[in-house]
Assembly symmetry: C2
Homo-oligomer: 245 residues x 2
């Protein structure tokens, strides 16, 4: 049989679409610890019925990004030092691993992509030093993806999902100071270019520890903010702009 070549019809469900949007919002730090969600509200904003939202939310709960709070409410977990240390431990166990593999299998296309991502920041500096969490996410995951590790990558993505709300705290607290993160990213990229797996891994660990220490600072502030934040949540919509469109 012959004829015109067709593009594949994307066989995507609404459930996946909803999940993707929520996942995005999380990794961008658009949810803060303590935020509450409700299914009907989400469904309305997303233009679907409750069903796909339920399933997406259920998945987020299973991944630990949301929790079932008492009295049938869904909440972004509050800050928890123990849990965060555990999260750091897991990241340090897994991310250097995939980094090593990625560097060993590195190719020109990926290097170029990584350069491009880092360059965005310099050019697109209109945000005036405002850290672009999505960019950070892209850098790490284009690197990790090169490891071609179908089991480890989703695991790491799950960890980042839970880091998201903390990133929100960091962002609010540290603000522009976060910009120097790109120094570390540069170092990692250089190591990847040289094929120096060890150096790249060390860079990743440094990056993780850096965000951890920033978070430790931010968390101290949160205790004071907490009461105010909770009050504000009652009046203002906790909804991140990304999803309201």
């Amino acid at each position: 049989m012959s004829g015109p070549v067709f593009g594949r019809i994307d066989q995507t469900t609404m459930r996946e679409g909803v999940y993707a949007q929520l996942h995005d919002a999380f990794t961008r730090g658009q949810f803060a610890p303590g935020d509450t969600l409700n299914l009907r509200g989400l469904a309305e904003r997303l233009g679907t019925s409750m069903t796909p939202v339920r399933e997406a939310v259920r998945r987020l709960v299973a991944e630990g990004a949301l929790i079932d709070a008492p009295s049938r409410t869904l909440r972004v977990p509050d800050f928890d030092l123990r849990q965060m240390q555990d999260l750091k431990l897991a990241r340090i166990a897994l991310e250097p691993l995939v980094t090593g593999r990625a560097v060993e299998r590195m190719d020109a296309a990926t290097l170029e992509a990584l350069e491009g991502i880092l360059a965005e920041d310099t050019v697109d500096g209109k945000q005036a030093g405002m850290p672009d969490l999505a960019q950070n996410y892209r850098f790490h995951f284009t690197l990790y993806r090169r490891a071609d590790s179908p089991v480890l990558l989703p695991l790491i993505a799950g960890l980042w999902l839970r880091y998201g709300p903390y990133l929100n705290l960091i962002m609010r607290h540290a603000g522009p100071e976060i910009g120097k993160g790109n120094d570390i990213h540069m170092t990692i990229l250089d190591a990847a270019r040289r094929g120096d797996a060890k150096a790249a891994q060390a860079g990743i660990v440094a990056d993780i520890e850096r965000s951890f220490s920033l978070l430790a600072e931010a968390s101290e502030e949160q205790a004071g903010d907490d009461r105010m934040k909770r009050r504000a949540r009652l009046t203002a919509s906790p909804w991140p702009e990304q999803l309201s469109r």
Copy 2:
């Protein structure tokens, strides 16, 4: 206010019940690679409507224990060498980590529990060397739980979930020979008793590598079995007895 002390009403949903049953079936190796499931059948067997089943199944898909096969069918993933190597890598990255922590924090109660689990096998040898996968699971996770690591433990549980169908293969292939696994478990328990974290970690790695090599053997056989298995699936119910009750 005073009065009699009441036990907590367990606020459990059907969704969780369904998930627990399926999770159990997986870790016991009651599902084999390639098995297919359908929501209505599950719902009927479990005595619920489709809704809770859908959500539990969706979670299993998110965890990688099931996959969405073409034409709206749910399948237990087929054996995949690359995936399995990745799984092994992840296990070796995480399980020694929690083992180390567990040994450091070891207490008498946990040691006793571990002894008890290993003793079961010797006493309850009625299965004639038939490996009790549930017992294996309990041993590892009572050990790991002692690490008190709320992030890492679910991660590891997710990995085991995906190991389940492979265990099924091992069990079918290796049969009684698997009994010597307890030697390694003994070694691990001894190390835990002495507080020797390094030795316990080495034991865990040995255990993982052992099950991996058993699996490598079994996987060769699967290629031949495959055609037969697929035919059998059409006539016989793939349903594990555990769930039919």
